[in-house]
């Protein structure tokens, strides 16, 4: 009965569980890298380091330049992290798909591998 329980679960709820766990796993990776936050604020100044424009043209130009630098730094840092997030999400996706495909093959693989090893 125990062996039956195992196989019923492995090819039933277990497999379904593996499939259903892919989405939350990817969400978790995206959350860890704050993907939504970073996309929403992609062009925002880095840590709000901004210069408030003065009244003269020179001061305004300087503030504009400073703020462009801050936004560029913010953009680059976020882009790098988003890139890392993309790599992580891709890796997790691939591993999850491989797990999903290999899952039904694992139990029968055991006797097959033993036969291969002995022969």
């Amino acid at each position: 009965m125990l062996v039956a329980s195992f196989f019923i679960w492995w090819y039933g709820r277990g497999w379904k569980q593996v499939a259903l766990s892919i989405k939350p796993r990817l969400s978790s990776v995206a959350y860890t890298f704050s993907v939504t936050q970073l996309l929403r604020t992609l062009f925002a100044p880095w840590r709000r380091i901004i210069t408030y424009p003065g009244s003269s043209l020179g001061e305004r130009l300087k503030a504009w330049g400073d703020n462009i630098v801050s936004r560029t730094i913010g953009f680059l840092v976020r882009l790098i992290v988003l890139g890392a997030a993309l790599v992580a999400i891709t890796t997790v996706s691939l591993l999850s798909v491989i797990e999903l495909i290999l899952w039904p093959l694992l139990p029968p693989a055991i006797p097959l591998l033993i036969i291969l090893g002995i022969v």
Binding site: W9, R47, R48, G74, I110, L113
Partner: protein
């Protein structure tokens, strides 16, 4: 499949022959250690297998990979299925948790004793036993032996799981079900001063703990880039306490408050672009906890887009003041903090005890103008916490500032909510002090703090009292007695059951009182009975301990009985607030009685006297002379056991004995007693006369627990009064080692000279003073009496 035992049609019993039960047993066998071992061996075998195939080109490597899978596959099965063993359906056997199914032995699951013996050592069972102060054998002995009772217990367990939204029926629910289905256990709980309902409360507590633990693992705080769009806050980090980052670092358990009305109101106000919020509530109501709950909700991003990942920074006015070297620097710091918070873009400033910022109280400074400008600019969201009094003061003194704030008024939690907070507090105390807090201790903390701490609000006052009870734990267990001792020490009240010596004193109260006053047996007996009822806890706790109207002529012992009550019940004659009601004859005199603050000491405020000395006799002399407004006030006092001052603050009279005296009808009493009538025979008629003559309103007389008639003293009784007075003279002379004795003739002479039918025993003191004290003084001065002398005075010796 057949169940483990016979089932009645209406109930389900545990079936240990199901596939799920088998999985639970395997799951228990393959525990966490085995899982880790399988994973390690599996990974090692996989690596070795690959190495052998690649490096040695040997097919034996496949054997190692097979070994790796032999380890990996069951490990995954355990981790994803056997360990959590989720519910497979809605019936009992599909919902019993893995622990229940694994611990039960076939053949024993059909009776309570078998189930108890299997689950009794589970940590959830110990959770019940420890908090109810019971032991395993005690419960085992009192379990219901009726075979049908187990079905009932399992139904209760299912109900408890449903009530707590738990898909699984945990061991704790089964334990609670068995205890609730056993009348013997209910009796046992009653013996231990617990209630059967406590079992259900503990089951709910346990379920909440399990759910919170599960949620804690899933807590997320925004990821690595959460704060990159917000500014740095070095100054706020220096002066403030960042609640949000603290929660993200150490975790928090404010989920239960996150959806409270207070948090929702603050969120809604900020979403509607309110600049500042006045969070109003009395001390102890949970203003700071509400802000922590808000901080948790924000840092988890569980709010609207506008507030997501905002951080709450609490600023302490005292810290800022102590850092600044002068008013100029103080202003600079305050403005810099506001500017930094505004620039950062994700900070909500929180000022606890905000009145300290507005120039109220010691250690305060006046930052009203700074706050006014910051709030007007609406550049940074601010929450200021006030007590209701402080908020009222702000509205009176600085309406423009108050109008800029959106008030959020916190309401006191109901009892169930307070108990939930106390449960969390108990867990904290248990972990911190390595003690055990019994459930009855928590209930007692709720009850006694409600009764004796009128100044603070729930749940704060109950939490405080439970904490104060820790030093009084016995064998590291905080019990109801520990809580009673704590309140007795901190408040000077009598909260615990009477100790044998005290019980003896209460039972002999009449004798003790009669040592001080002569006769009036009926009056003494009525008062003594009321005090015994109060001390035994059988009176209405929401009214004064006792309320009496003493009626009778002057000098018959009314005031003396009030003093005796103060001395015998409250331990000192000084435990008495005495008001001459003839001084309260004007309508405005009500204000004098209820005055608080500076004027209270000048006006002889009843309210303040009782606040300062809550365990006292309140003696209202000549009550009939008071203005009707004051008598109306007395109605409220006698009914509700409390009075309210102009600021809405309540003063409790629930620990007072209220005694009102009156000479109304004194002549009638004297005449009737003179004619030989007994007090009991004419008391009802006498009361009617008092009402008909308009001296007392019936509603007032009805509010008193007892109307006690005092009769005039006979010459024999006055003689006994003289002897009591001589006793008091002897006490005074004791330090000179001189004693005085009066012969019967001398006593008779003093009674004759000192007795005035209109004034009772009152002139006796003067007569005795003149007759005895003067004579003794002369003897001492003439050297006729030295240390060790015994002076016996006869009638001719007396100088009267």
């Amino acid at each position: 499949m057949q169940p483990d035992t016979q089932t009645s049609p209406s109930t389900q019993l545990i079936n240990l022959k199901t596939r799920r039960a088998g999985e639970a047993r395997v799951g228990k066998f393959l525990n966490k250690t085995a899982y880790n071992g399988l994973l390690i061996v599996g990974v090692a075998a996989l690596l070795a297998g690959v190495a052998v195939i690649v490096l040695e080109h040997s097919l034996h490597g496949y054997l190692l990979i097979a070994l790796s899978l032999i380890c990996y596959v069951p490990a995954v099965w355990w981790h994803r299925r056997l360990k959590p063993l989720p519910a497979d359906g809605t019936d009992l056997n599909s919902r019993l948790s893995a622990d229940v199914l694994a611990l039960l032995k076939p053949g024993t699951a059909n009776q309570m004793s078998g189930v108890w013996s299997a689950l009794g050592d589970h940590w959830q069972a110990r959770f019940f036993l420890n908090h109810l102060l019971l032991t395993r054998p005690m419960v085992a002995e009192h379990l219901n032996t009726d075979p049908a009772a187990l079905g009932q217990a399992l139904q209760t367990a299912t109900r408890l799981a449903d009530a707590n939204h738990s898909p699984l029926i945990e061991p704790g629910f089964v334990i609670a079900g068995m205890m609730l289905a056993s009348p013997g256990v209910s009796q046992l709980l009653t013996q231990f001063k617990a209630r059967p309902a406590d079992t259900e409360a503990i089951a709910n507590w346990l379920a909440r703990g399990l759910a919170e633990e599960a949620r804690r693992d899933q807590q997320k705080f925004g990821g690595i880039g959460r704060d990159w769009a917000f500014g740095y806050t070095p100054l706020l980090n220096r002066f403030g306490q960042n609640f949000s980052l603290g929660i993200a670092k150490y975790g928090a358990h404010f989920d239960w408050l996150a959806n409270s009305e207070g948090v929702k109101a603050i969120e809604a106000a900020f979403e509607n672009r309110a600049g500042a919020i006045a969070l109003v509530g009395p001390d102890g109501i949970g203003k700071t906890s509400t802000i922590y709950a808000l901080a948790q909700k924000l840092i988890e991003g569980k709010t609207g887009q506008r507030l997501a990942y905002h951080q709450v920074v609490a600023l302490n006015a005292t810290d800022i003041t102590s850092t600044a070297r002068g008013p100029g620097e103080l202003e600079h710091i305050m403005l810099s903090l506001a500017s930094e918070a505004s620039h950062a873009g994700h900070v909500i400033l929180f000022f606890d005890d905000a009145q300290l910022l507005l120039g109220g109280g010691p250690g305060s400074f006046d930052a009203t103008q700074i706050l006014l400008s910051v709030i007007k600019a609406a550049s940074v969201p601010i929450i200021l916490a006030f007590t209701p009094n402080d908020y009222q003061r702000l509205r009176t003194k600085n309406q423009s500032l108050a109008n800029l704030m959106t008030p959020v008024i916190l309401q006191e939690l109901p009892e169930a909510g307070v108990m939930r907070v106390l449960e969390d507090t108990a867990i904290g105390l248990e972990n911190h002090h390595q003690i055990l807090v019994s459930y009855e201790a928590m209930r007692e903390a709720y009850r006694l703090s409600g009764r004796y701490d009128q100044d603070a609000a729930y749940p704060g006052k109950a939490i405080k009292l439970l904490g104060q009870a820790v030093p009084y734990s016995i064998h590291s267990v905080v019990t109801a007695e520990s809580v009673q001792k704590a309140i007795e020490q901190t408040r000077g009240v009598k909260a615990s059951s009477a100790a044998p010596a005290e019980a003896d004193a209460l039972l002999n109260l009449e004798d003790n009182i009669h040592r001080r006053m002569i006769n009036q047996s009926h009056a003494v007996s009525v008062v003594a009975s009321a005090l015994r009822r109060a001390r035994a806890g059988v009176t209405n706790p929401n009214r004064p301990i006792g309320s009496f109207l003493f009626l009778g002529p002057t000098g018959v012992g009314k005031t003396e009985l009030a003093k005796s009550v103060a001395a015998t019940y409250f331990g000192s004659e000084k435990a008495m607030v005495r008001l001459d009601m003839s001084e309260y004859q004007q309508p405005d005199d009500v204000q004098r009685l209820l005055s608080t603050g500076a004027e209270a000491s000048q006006t002889n405020s009843l309210l303040m006297s009782v606040r300062n000395q809550p365990f006292t006799v309140v003696l209202l002399d000549e009550i009939e002379k008071a203005h009707s407004n004051i008598l109306n006030l007395l109605l409220q006092l006698l009914d509700e056991g409390q009075l309210t001052d102009s600021a809405g603050k309540v003063a409790s009279f629930k620990d007072c004995v209220i005694i009102a005296t009156s000479n109304a009808g004194a002549t009638e009493i004297r005449d009737r007693v003179g004619r030989g009538e007994s007090l009991e025979s004419f008391a009802p008629q006498f009361t009617d006369q008092l009402i008909q003559s308009g001296q007392f309103k019936p509603e007032l007389l009805n509010r008193f627990d007892e109307m006690v008639l005092f009769r005039p003293l006979t010459p024999e009784e006055l003689g006994q009064v003289v002897q009591l007075m001589v006793g008091s003279v002897n006490k005074t002379l004791a330090n000179q080692n001189i004693t005085v004795e009066l012969t019967p003739a001398a006593i008779a002479k003093i009674v004759e000279k000192g007795n005035d039918p209109r004034l009772g025993a009152r002139p006796m003191r003067r007569t005795l003073q003149k007759a005895v004290e003067d004579t003794v003084a002369q003897k001492i001065l003439r050297g006729q009496a030295q240390a060790g002398s015994h002076i016996r005075l006869d009638a001719p010796d007396l100088a009267i």
